[in-house]
Amino acid sequence: MARVYISTVISAPADRVWSVIRDFNALPDWTPFVADSRIEEGLPSDKIGCVRAFRLTDGGFIRERLLALSDYDYSFSYAILESPMGVDNYVSTLKLIPITDGDKTFAEWSAEFECAPGREDELVEHIGRNVFLGGLMSLKSKMGG
């Protein structure tokens, strides 16, 4: 089982950051690598079990199922159903925690998955740097730092 964990500090209140990322269908709004996204079967994007299908800017196609969403904890979890990355049993959580000192936000994005032997380091590096850190940096700049 491989693990990825990336965290950062966003200079905006957790409520505001959450309002941007809470929409499971909103990846194109705040990440640099998603070209378009839709929710299958016309379900609401906060219905547990809904599936988002999105295309990456490099052409890759990914489907992910929403496993959990908590407005109380500012967090959601999802599993990959289909992707070009070659990962199995991939479950990821994105969570915000308020920093009361300065009214900022601590954001952490983590995942656990399985993959072919020998590809673990490469995938941890790719997901950590290009997906999670890249996504959080883009979110930070969207929130004004």
Binding site: Y5, S7, V9, I97, T100, D101, F106, E108, L133, L136
Partner: protein
């Protein structure tokens, strides 16, 4: 049910923060609200179910039990089991998370509890600001996070302490006139609230130096009776002035400098004289070693820069400063010659890094130095003997040698004719501790190198005598009777009881 949550970012790696927090019984070492912490018998500090007994700075007592602790999750939970503050059913959680983007730490501290009716807001504020936010700030200060000095709630913490304790009572040793050790007597004192550039300390250990004897007897006029002697102390910051930027409440600090006034359990003094003490150096070692170690630092690195291969002559190599000079000069690669008076001291000198010991005998000191150095002489001589040694020192110098005269244990050097120095192009220095330590920048540079030398075991500070503060007279008597070895410290009587 009241819920309180506070969180912050500390500019230090998670392991550095966790090292401080995970010691469940160590919170008195950093939290400004906690004066003392002790575990119920038989349990370890990281043992789940351990109970710590807190005595707060404001006097209340409470008992808290460790409910869970996880090194993997960087978190622990605890409950109040007994308290003089009405926090009921109180359960709190401390947890850390790494900020991977920048190697910093997210720290959350939260709790839920009940209170007597009507006290919810007041107690929530006490827990949130007085406990959690003040704790964040103290740990930030301990870890040297520069953000700590500019926080607005430092000012409010200061104002709180000012309003709650404008005057802090304590004990001190005073003299009413110059004289013998019997003039040292205990008095009740008040440490006033700090002015904007001052700091108020609860002292835990006080260094005794021979200069204190000179001050008491009136040989030096650094002290004008009635007054409190002493130039060296270590303690915890109890309150700080609004303009103080380099210290925070709860921090362990020390100082070694005039003005006199160190023989006291509490002290208000200029903050710029006070420096933080590293975690790995205990209070007694710091109190015993600051003044002597700082002296050795500037003698070896600033008055003269000792190099590899230099012949260095040190008088009194078994004494307080002498021992540190020899250890450090040896480490710098010098050939160290120690001039002492008997075999017992010669043994101590050798164990302190002296390569060649000179004892009084048929041959003169300069004759023995010339033999050891094969006619070269000493490149630098550290001479605190004064009157009796001065001429021998000049004779033992190498060409272009440097005589550093920094004391007069045998009496004033008196008038000397400097024309004879031309025969060797000799240099003489007469350094004064004050001139090498009179700015925060100089202090920081000297103490940084000193603490590094202590932590790397280049030098060792031996605390061989310890007295309660109330027995300072006995400490002086022993020092003057030459019954002591290494360093002597005084411990305020209330701290002494706690040890």
């Amino acid at each position: 049910m009241v819920s309180v949550q506070r969180s912050t970012i500390i500019d230090a790696p998670i392991n550095a923060v966790w090292d401080i927090l995970r010691d469940f019984n160590g919170h008195d070492r950093w939290h400004p609200a906690v004066r003392r912490s002790a575990l119920d018998g038989g349990k370890r500090t990281d043992q789940v179910s351990a109970i710590r007994n807190f005595e707060l700075v404001e006097g209340q007592r409470l008992r808290e039990q460790l409910l869970s602790m996880s090194d993997e999750e960087y978190s622990f939970r605890y409950a109040i089991v007994d308290s003089e503050i009405p926090l009921l059913n109180y359960v709190a959680e401390v947890s850390l998370k790494p900020v991977t983007d920048g190697n910093r730490t997210f720290w959350s501290w939260k709790s839920q509890f009940d209170t007597p009716k009507g006290q919810e807001a007041e107690l929530a504020e006490l827990v949130a600001e007085g406990v959690y936010t003040a704790g964040f700030e103290a740990v930030r200060g301990r870890l040297g996070d520069p953000k700590s000095s500019s926080r607005s709630f430092m000012t409010s913490a200061y104002e709180t302490s000012k309003s709650s304790a404008p005057e802090l009572p304590g004990k001190a040793i005073q003299i009413d006139r110059y004289g013998g050790p019997e003039e040292l007597h205990i008095v009740n004192i008040i440490a006033k609230a700090p002015c904007p550039k001052e700091v108020r300390l609860r002292q835990t250990a006080i260094g005794v130096n021979y200069i204190d004897v000179y001050c008491r007897s009136g040989y030096f006029d650094l002290l004008k009776p009635p007054a409190v002697p002493g130039m060296e102390g270590v303690g915890v910051v109890e309150a700080i002035g609004a303009e103080v930027r380099h210290l925070s409440v709860g921090q362990r600090v020390g100082y070694a400098c005039p003005p006199v006034g160190a023989y006291a359990s509490v002290r208000t003094m200029p903050a710029e004289l006070v420096i933080p003490i590293p975690e790995n150096i205990d209070d007694r070692t710091a109190a015993a070693g600051l003044l002597k170690g700082m002296t050795a630092e500037f003698l070896l690195h600033r008055v003269h820069q000792v190099k590899k291969g230099d012949f260095v002559l040190v008088y009194a190599p078994a004494g307080g400063v002498g021992r540190i000079l020899c250890q450090w000069a040896n480490h710098l690669g010098a050939v160290v010659i120690g001039a002492t008076s008997n075999e017992e001291k010669a043994r101590i000198a050798r164990s302190s890094g002296v390569h060649h010991v000179i004892l009084p005998g048929a041959r003169s000191l300069e004759g023995q130095v010339m033999e050891i150095t094969r006619g070269h002489g000493a490149d630098v001589i550290y001479d605190a003997v004064g009157k009796d040694s001065f001429d021998h020192s000049v004779a033992a110098l190498a060409t272009c040698g440097h005589l550093v005269s920094f004391g007069q244990a045998s009496g004033d050097i008196g008038m000397r004719d400097i024309s004879s120095l031309a025969s060797k192009s000799a240099t003489i220095s007469r350094p004064n501790f004050g001139h090498y330590t009179d700015t925060p920048e100089k202090l920081a540079a000297i103490t940084t190198r000193l603490f590094d030398a202590i932590l790397r075991h280049i030098i060792s500070i031996e605390v061989d005598q310890q007295y309660p503060l109330s027995q300072a007279a006995e400490a002086h008597r022993a020092l003057e009777a030459r019954e002591t070895t290494g360093s002597t410290v005084l411990i305020p009587d209330d701290i002494q009881k706690g040890i």
